[in-house]
Symmetry: C2
Subunit: 104 residues, 2 copies
């Protein structure tokens, strides 16, 4: 068993900040923190696998193909194939948790 405390104050003024929390043969868990206005542009990877995205705190938009913008707020969970276009736009300071399985 491993306990990981997700720090709440890990932001950067330059760009969203990425903290790798765990990586194994089963999954990869990453914390992304966005200051208000920061964006993870829509992207995709041409590989198998899936990701979950949980909003730990804050509000913004989950970005998808064809300019899709889906409202995202604290406690919302999104599931996407890694091969589907996905991204995030923060409308307040925002902390999210991504789980990728199997890991990239």
């Amino acid at each position: 068993m491993k306990k990981i405390e997700i720090l709440e104050n890990q932001f950067s003024d330059k760009n969203f900040k990425m903290n790798l929390l765990h990586e194994s043969e089963n999954f990869k868990i990453i914390n992304f923190n966005f200051k208000k206005g920061q964006i993870l542009p829509v992207h995709s990877h041409d590989i198998d696998g899936e990701l979950s995205l949980l909003v730990l705190e804050g509000e913004g938009k989950f970005l998808g193909a064809d300019n899709l913008e889906s409202p995202a707020k604290t406690g919302d969970l999104f599931i996407s194939l890694i091969s589907e276009p996905h991204g995030m736009k923060a409308e307040t300071d925002m902390r999210i948790l991504i789980t990728i399985a199997p890991p990239l």
Copy 2:
């Protein structure tokens, strides 16, 4: 892309409540809600794979082998092999999110 709203008021007085949020070939995501005092007893499964446990809200103890009790509070993340003994004891009303990969 699928959006899942994790409801905050899904408790039961009888026992902890389990809500399956997502299941695929890559992972299984389950929300467990405990009223104060409810317990998921220590257990394990003799199979490969790993689970992550995120405390969405509340406080309690993560239970492990040899009577281990590790303090668990909102925002804490625990990682365990599925084959390692694991459990949870709620000391306040508590909502947690479990991700199992690969799925059972």
